[in-house]
Amino acid sequence: MRPFKYVRAADAVGAVRAVAMNPRAKFLAGGTNILDLMKEDVERPNELVDLSRLGLNEIRAAGGGVSIGALAKNTDTANHPLIRRNYPLLTQAIVAGASGQLRNMATNGGNLMQRTRCQYFYDTAMPCNKREPGSGCGALGGLNRIHAILGWSEKCVATYPGDMANALYALDAVVRVRGANGRVRTIPVGEFHRLPGDTPEKDNNLAHGELITAIELPKSSFAKHSYYLKVRDRASYAFALVAVAAALQVERGAVRQARVVLGGVAHKPWRSAEAEAALVGQPASEENFRRAAEAALKGAKPLAHNAYKVELGKRAVVRALMRASGLA
């Protein structure tokens, strides 16, 4: 690991100022992603600004919904009574990720910011446009079994690996951030992460020095009918090959509102408006779920080694909707 200056920020204003002033500074939250990447020499900050004394770890009822602090731990968020009762989809998504130890360390803000697990991104001997813009994409013509089937570009075929954000997107959450000039803004979770396009080095739309302070969940009508399904190479402690956050509002057997968000298939959580349109107004039935699944994966463009994700994605959508609706 390269040398860096360690700074303990006393408050949000100080933390933002410290990082905004130094283009090579980064925030440190739970450390579970950034320290790993620093050990691999992928991330090379010369200053880490420790956020652990900032507070910002409250989980509380707010405006009919719930506000969760950016520095609250994943474990505490998943197990909070307000979340378990009103947003069980979020609880399921969080506990589907990583391990007990990691979730005790990982924060909600850090979780949104986690970087791809593309092996070429991790291997500094390999070309990677995300790590080193202009060097090429090792995965495009290389081993791409875990990579994207939707929304990728010739510059980068990586996936966003996180679970929590898929559920947050389905639950219409917004991210509250604070910038250097004291400017506060909110970003809908669906607009937080980006597709790679020509600038895969940018994972998301946060500016340097902007601090995530909270994630806000509006009142939800999905608590009764939601399910997070994660498919991976082993039963636990592995990233998703495909994940589905499914949420339905069902009235007298018919779907009134639907959310279908896929994880592990694109550079950002992938919400399928086509699948949702196929569901709304229709009876909650396996047949209709199959139509929705076909619609969700219709535009998929698999790479050399990940065509399996198309069929897997369809089946995962059906299964998640069956579980969400209580039909399975």
Partner: protein, 275 residues
Amino acid sequence: MHDDFDETSGPELSADEEALLKELPALTDVGQARRTFLGQTVAGGLGVFALMLLEQERAVGALAASPEALYAPGAALENPVRVSLKVNGAAKSLEVDSRMVLLDALRERLELTGTKKGCDQGQCGACTVLVDGRRVLSCLTLAATCEGKEVTTVEGLARGDELHPVQAAFIKYDGFQCGYCTPGQLCSAVGLLEEAKRGDVSHVTEDVTASTTRLTDDEIRERMSGNICRCGAYPGIVAAIQEAHSGRERARTWRFVEGEELARVREEVGADETV
């Protein structure tokens, strides 16, 4: 029970092994802490396996040890950070390089080598310790962030000579083979039991909106999935945690070999094998 075998008998080392040991002076420093660890984790009685370990330990420990070497801060630190924390109940104050992770601080600076380094990147759980009572990975925790924290390592689980119930259960159920993952498994299990007591849910919990969860074997397997065991001691680990959790003791299905029986086993196996 330590008296059961001859102090002077050690494993026969080949010329290559002798040379290797001489080239690894760092190992000699590890000897003392390892002995303490063994004394604590296997104090319930010494199995054949433990005897073998202890013999190897003695051979290594016989080489000159220099505990000061462990404390030498070495070259000037590039970005020094002062941290005061409690480790296993004792107050410690250290000056560390900003890059030093808690795992290395424990092992290299505080002579607590019970905590193991496996992958060094969050993928195996060998480095699990408790920080303020919660299980975390010491390989991804900067020592600098531990200011004011209470750290408990495997060395701090027992109360004097009395094993933590989880430790005792691991011995009873053969919850380990080589033992490398064991300190992490033990700390993780202790943390898990607290989480279960609090009512935390897991990936296999059927209804996360319900207020209670039963700690089934499947729940234990899922909640321990962050601790990999290359020896595959999983069945014993699950059984041990289940017993430590429920408090319902099941009869032990094996016993330690002792005295004459041990001598007989040794004879049968042959003099050049370490049993």
